[in-house]
Amino acid sequence: MQKRDLISITDFSKAEYLQIMEMAKGFEKNPNQNLLKGKVVATLFFEPSTRTRLSFETAINRLGGKIIGFTDSSSSSVTKGETLHDTIRMVSNYADLIVMRHPLEGSARYASQISKVPIINAGDGANQHPTQTLLDMYSIIKTQGRLDNINIFMVGDLKYGRTVHSLLMALSVFENPIFNFIAPPELAMPDEYKRFLTSKGIRYFEHREFTGIISEADIIYMTRVQKERFTDPIEYEKVRNVYILRNKMLQQTKPTLKILHPLPRVNEINEDVDSNPKAYYFTQAENGVYTRQAIISHIMGLI
């Protein structure tokens, strides 16, 4: 059987997305399943990401697998100057699956060419983080009952935010999505993604700020506007408070609206939103465990 990897969200087909969603639902009902019994999973975190690592390690533990690995490169042979090539060659002799996070873009694709065992990309720099996208999709299907006909508002840093790019690509394979982008011009959705949507005949609208139009939203996907993305600090000061979601702004929105955020948040979702039933970001993080159980099981051919 050919080795399967998950490096980029577009590595999976629409049928596979739906299969993962179905499996995640099963794991949510019954999380403790011994499908990985006797298997060793390496979690190689060349840069720290506590949230993602804990989510993966919980998923592996709930599947009954054993974990080896490191939590940042200072505790590995990388500090001695070992190449990624050699680390992957070595670890793929020990483990049945490698979950890796690395600061360099393209590192996971490169690792998948070297490794004998499957690779799951848990984030390669600003490039891809496909398990985040699948958990976002699971959160959408779980709350909306569908992935077709979703009107999604993406807010904040749409230029550098890998999560919004991947989610855009994933939702574009479903029927009739509508994208609304709310961002300052400096952090607008890149042209390549807008061209992609146009080529597929998918509607999108761009806005400078929140308007009454969010009353049509099924999903509001918030991201952080990071100060370090701005060359001019004055520009940052101008926009930093424009992209904050407050509870009073949600009054006219759909009762089924859900607010997602890949977390961690800083100030872009006011804390007064947290108690609103439309706030979904903490449950979204929990969904990550079930989705990652599903992804691992799919990649390993366990179900």
């Binding site: 190449t83 990624l84 090539h85 360099l104 873009e105 393209g106 590192s107 694709r109 490169y110 490039n127």
Partner: protein, 150 residues
Amino acid sequence: MDKALQVSAIKEGTVIDHLPAERLFDVINILGLYNSTDMITFGTNLDSKRLGKKGIIKVANRHFEGKEIDKIALIAPHANLNIIKNYEVVEKRLVEIPEEIISIVKCFNPKCITNNENVETRFQVICKSPIELKCFFCEKITHEKEVVIT
């Protein structure tokens, strides 16, 4: 009179014609012609109906193929190669940008693994004019102005 005849004819070799005038020295550079011991003549800012001003290189005793032609195509997509045998043009070949480019272009993204570890670069050509190359590894697009040939 053919512009190619403004410089002396060669018996065997290749005439690379229709180079953008401003990229002439880039072509000399990427083909490593400065190391050649054979006769090379070149001209630039010659009148051209198609390009306005063009450059031309005549290289004696040398024929180009494969990756070398891909390199020329990337910086001079309208160039053509005239293969000369016994003072005659025996073949005219237009350069063409391939669908996939392996190892000859540097990814523009400094955070790409290919710029940090010994990895052969690989790009899918998503647009030929203007050139847009999508990195197989980091998935970022290197645009025509950013193309650096290695």
